[in-house]
Structures are given as structure tokens and as C-alpha cells.
């Protein structure tokens, strides 16, 4: 609260005091010809006003300063009333009450939406769970009736399965709860499981797989990482350029472990690279060739962020793409290893 603004706010009372002082001075001068008495009285009136205003200013400044400062510091601004002390003056009390009321109604509103999104998420989880039974049944039927039609349908069923899984992880990535489970595993186990799961897709694309340095322990959620690796493999197949070669490379870093998945695909244009992790970004490759949803890498990044893993990309058009996942090794995980 600026002094000038404060005084401007109290302009009427200031004017009144000044007028009262002038009038008192004039009164004594004209009536009793007592210049000193008039001046004395005027000075007292003005002094009283100045003292009153200063006291009020100090009191209000304390409160409003704490309001603006807390507002700056707060991450969730609607919680302001929570950190304020109730002021001693009436105006402040009114404001304080209003803030408390609005905070409460905001909290109610948030709870309502949280509940709704929780319900929606539960519905998605159940739906994904239910849809898997018909998908499994369809796969078995196709497997038992081999033929041209079946193998064509099998590919489509695989795609449906992948989209369903993406929906599940999308809903998980949006939720605020921590529903992952960090466990100890090795890079080799993670890569082998993803390769096995996507064997048909990769074999169909005539992929040659090389792996190096995967004998390292990491801490992560196994299912989530499996999904992330699956997305990367699917991208490698989708954007391949001739015979597909995929290389997995693990290396020890100072504060963790890095897993790089690189391919010899069409690569990503330089101007698109900074945006590949953005939601809905499809870029030049997405427009030109294979259909792209702009969700795969976005989800990978989001899930990595939630688990505290690093994810970075480097690519050269015509040469290929390399994606690196960094598994940090904190002091806590180090002590866990010792146990």
C-alpha cells in the first residue's frame, strides 16, 4: 500500500481537517484578534489528524503487506486466507471473511471436479479391463483359424489393443495420485519384456535388434517403463526407412543409468525436435506418412516426469532417432541396493 494512494483514499477527512483548521484560525483571528490562539488550535487539529492517519496507515500497511507477500509466495493462490492472520480493523475483517468464504467455495468446487475426474478415471479403467476380454477372444479365434483374412485382422486387433493401452496410460498420467510402484529391476529385463511383448510387430517389420551394456540395475515402475519402451518401439516401426535396425544401449552415469533406444528410421526434422513431447504435436512426419496421434511421446514424457525419470531425444533426418531414458540413482536407492 503506497502512502500517496492511502492519503488519496482519505482525501475527504484530510480536506475536512484542513478546512476545520482554517476555519478555527479565521474564527479566532476575526472574533478575538488572537492570531496565536488561532494558529495553536489549527496546529492541534492538523496534528491530531496526522497522528490518526499515521496510526491507521501503519496498521493497514502491516496487514496488506502480508496479503501481497503471501500472494506472491503461494503456489495455490486460492489458499490465501489460510496463511493470513485475522486483522484487528473492521475493513480488514470483512476482506478476511470474504477470502475465507471464497476459499471454502473454491475447495468445494475442486473436490467436486476431483470426484468427477476420479469417477471418470475409474470408468476408463473398468472399460479397458472389460474390453480386453473380447480382444483376447478375437485374437484366439484368429489364431485358431489361420489364413489371409485372419492375419490381416490380427494386425488390426493388435492396433486396437495398443490404442486401448494408450487410453489406460493416458488416464493414469492425468491423475494426481501416485499409482506407480518403484521396484528394482535390470535394463536387460525391461528391454527383453518389451521386445517379447512387441515380437509380432517387430518381426513383421523384419527388425534386427542389438543390445549392449544392459546388465545394470535400475529402480522404476516396471509396467510403466514397459509401456514407454513399447511406444518407442512402435515409433521405430512406424517411421522406419528400409530394413529396421534397433539398438539398445545402457551406460552408467554419475548419478544414475541411461538407456538409449536408437533406430535407423527416417528421423525428425530439426525444427520439429523441440516440440515432439508436446501433446498433439504430429510434425512433418505425422503429416507426410504414417498416421500420428501426437500422443505417444507426450505420454512417455509425462509418465517419465511422474516417476522422476529423464527423457531426451536426438535425431537426424535420414539417419535415425535416438531416445534416452535416464534412471536416476538417489542416495535412497543406493542404500536400498545395499540392503
Amino acid at each position: 500500500m503506497k502512502l500517496k494512494a492511502f492519503l488519496w483514499d482519505h482525501i475527504s477527512s484530510l480536506t475536512a481537517s484542513v478546512l476545520a483548521a482554517v476555519f478555527a484560525f479565521e474564527f479566532f483571528c476575526a472574533l478575538c484578534n488572537e492570531v496565536y490562539a488561532g494558529a495553536y488550535l489549527a496546529a492541534i487539529i492538523l496534528l491530531a489528524e496526522a497522528v490518526a492517519l499515521t496510526l491507521e496507515y501503519l496498521k493497514k500497511r502491516g496487514f496488506y503487506r502480508s496479503v501481497t507477500q503471501s500472494l506472491d509466495k503461494l503456489d495455490k493462490k486460492y489458499l490465501l486466507a489460510e496463511v493470513l492472520k485475522e486483522p484487528s480493523f473492521e475493513e480488514g475483517k470483512l476482506l478476511y471473511e470474504a477470502l475465507r468464504e471464497s476459499e471454502k467455495s473454491m475447495n468445494d468446487e475442486i473436490a467436486k471436479y476431483r470426484q468427477k475426474s476420479q469417477e471418470y478415471r475409474e470408468y476408463i479403467e473398468t472399460w479397458v479391463h472389460e474390453i480386453k476380454t473380447p480382444i483376447s477372444a478375437s485374437r484366439l479365434i484368429l489364431e485358431n483359424n489361420p489364413g489371409e483374412i485372419s492375419s490381416g485382422l490380427e494386425e488390426e486387433i493388435d492396433k486396437i489393443g495398443d490404442f486401448v493401452e494408450q487410453a489406460l496410460f493416458y488416464s493414469r498420467s492425468e491423475s494426481v495420485e501416485k499409482d506407480y510402484l518403484i521396484r528394482e529391476t535390470t535394463l536387460h529385463k525391461l528391454v527383453a519384456s518389451a521386445l517379447k511383448k512387441h515380437a509380432s510387430l517387430l518381426i513383421g517389420a523384419k527388425a534386427a535388434v542389438h543390445a549392449d551394456g544392459l546388465d545394470r540395475t535400475v529402480f522404476t515402475d516396471i509396467k510403466w517403463t514397459d509401456f514407454i519402451l513399447g511406444q518407442l518401439l512402435a515409433n521405430s516401426v512406424k517411421y522406419r526407412n528400409g530394413p529396421l535396425r534397433i539398438r539398445f544401449f545402457g551406460e552408467e552415469l554419475k548419478n544414475g543409468c541411461a538407456l538409449t533406444v536408437s533406430d535407423n528410421g527416417i528421423g525428425i526434422p530439426e525444427q520439429d525436435l523441440p516440440r515432439v513431447f508436446d501433446k498433439g504435436f504430429t510434425g512433418e512426419n505425422g503429416r507426410r506418412g504414417a498416421k500420428s496421434t501426437g500422443l505417444g511421446l507426450y505420454l512417455c514424457k509425462k509418465l517419465c516426469n511422474k516417476m522422476g525419470l529423464g527423457l531426451s531425444i536426438c535425431s537426424k533426418p535420414g539417419a535415425g532417432t535416438a531416445i534416452t531414458i535416464i534412471f536416476p540413482k538417489s542416495n535412497m536407492t543406493a542404500s536400498l541396493t545395499k540392503l
Binding site: 483376447s136 479365434i141 521396484r183 511383448k197 515380437a199 509380432s200 523384419k206 534386427a208 535388434v209
Partner: protein, 221 residues
């Protein structure tokens, strides 16, 4: 022949899974009476139980617990609930393995063989004879009319797949998938090398024209 009991409430999956597992040389058994399923399983004495978690009457966890309390039958839990807790609870209750739906059939078969091998080693055939070739899976060797030869892990896997296919045409993709499921991520060229070497080995022990190429389709024995 190993008997697998399917605890699964979806009729379609049950029939199709039975067909599929028969193709790979397993007998299947199942029942609709979910209220007394534990009794039925114990009476039929299967070598393995494939257990779905989501069931009418009582859920898979409770069946798993009850089965484990009363017998050592190997149990593979199959579920579409893709969560870590389900897996941990199943393992805690004594399940031997855990697979999530929708599974790749090769993955399912690999898990079944692995669990059977671990739990009843004597049930897994030591030697198999087919059209003049005898393969000893325990010693990883092949015997023919003109002698015997050592087989590599990959060659053993490939012959195992051909034996379970029993005269059916096996595609190259299927062979590769089987190898991939046992952690051998071979590519197309390596497979050709493997097949050619296997053919030469078989010829050296007097087994000729065993792996027949079906152009554009795959191989057959």
C-alpha cells in the same frame, strides 16, 4: 500329455484356448460350476491351472488361496487387470506365474512351458521321436540312423516347435517369435543361418530332407 485346467468364465475364450492349446499338444479341462471349482480341480488333478481373476461367485484370489492351501498344483494367474498390486497379491497367495490379457499366444505358451518345466521336470519329455529323428531335450542332442550330433539352444527350440506342430506348416515369423520368447532376439538372416546349419547337422546324421521349405509359407517336418 500335460492336462491344463482353465478357470475362465468367458465361454468363447475357453473354447478357443482349448483349441489352441490342443494344437500345441496339451489337454484342456474346464468347468462352469464356479461355486465348487476348487473341489473339481482337485478331483481332476491337472498338471497346471490357468486362473482368471475376475470370476462369478468368488474371485480368483480366493480360489488361488484355497488351491494353494490344499495342493501344490502349479497356478498361472491370467488377468486383464493390469496392475502391480494384482501381480504381487497373486504371487503372495502362491501363484507360480502371472500374465496380463490380452496376451500374445507365444508369450502364454512360453510361460506354460516354463512353469511346467520348473514344477514337474519329469513330465517334460526327455526324448521325442518323429519320422526317424530322435531328439534328446535333456542332453540337447539328436540321434539319426548314421549317428548323433550336439544341438545348440536355438536348434533345440526350433525342433521343439516343429515337433509340437506335428506336420503343420510353421511360418518363419512363428519360429522367430518362439525364439524371441526365450530371449533369443534373432533377425531374419540369423534364422536362415540357424535353419541351414540345422539341416546340415541333420544330414550329417543321416536324416535327409527333414525340414521341407514351403515356398512363401514356411517349413514343415
Amino acid at each position: 500329455m500335460a492336462v491344463i485346467f482353465l478357470v475362465e468364465d468367458d465361454q468363447k475364450i475357453r473354447t478357443e484356448l482349448t483349441k489352441l492349446l490342443k494344437k500345441y499338444g496339451y489337454e484342456c479341462d474346464s468347468s462352469d460350476d464356479f461355486a465348487n471349482i476348487v473341489e473339481i480341480i482337485l478331483k481332476r488333478k491337472p498338471q497346471l491351472v490357468l486362473l482368471d481373476l475376475n470370476l462369478p461367485v468368488c474371485d480368483g484370489f480366493c480360489i488361488c488361496r484355497e488351491l494353494r492351501r490344499r495342493s501344490h498344483i502349479p497356478i498361472i494367474v491370467v488377468t486383464s487387470r493390469d496392475s502391480e498390486t494384482d501381480e504381487l497379491v497373486s504371487m503372495d497367495l502362491g501363484a507360480d506365474d502371472f500374465i496380463t490379457k490380452p496376451y500374445n499366444t507365444q508369450i502364454l505358451l512360453a510361460h506354460i512351458t516354463a512353469v511346467l518345466k520348473r514344477t514337474n521336470p519329469q513330465k517334460v519329455p526327455g526324448t521325442v521321436n518323429y519320422r526317424g529323428l530322435e531328439v534328446d531335450f535333456a542332453k540337447s542332442s539328436a540321434n539319426g540312423p548314421e549317428g548323433s550330433t550336439e544341438l545348440t539352444k536355438n536348434e533345440l527350440k526350433i525342433l521343439g516347435l516343429f515337433f509340437s506342430a506335428r506336420g503343420r506348416i510353421v511360418t518363419r515369423d512363428e519360429i522367430m517369435n518362439t525364439l524371441w520368447q526365450s530371449d533369443e532376439f534373432v533377425d531374419d538372416n540369423t534364422l536362415t543361418v540357424n535353419i541351414n546349419r540345422l539341416r546340415r547337422k541333420l544330414e550329417s546324421i543321416g536324416v535327409r530332407d527333414y525340414l521341407v521349405t514351403k515356398r512363401g509359407q514356411g517349413y514343415r517336418i
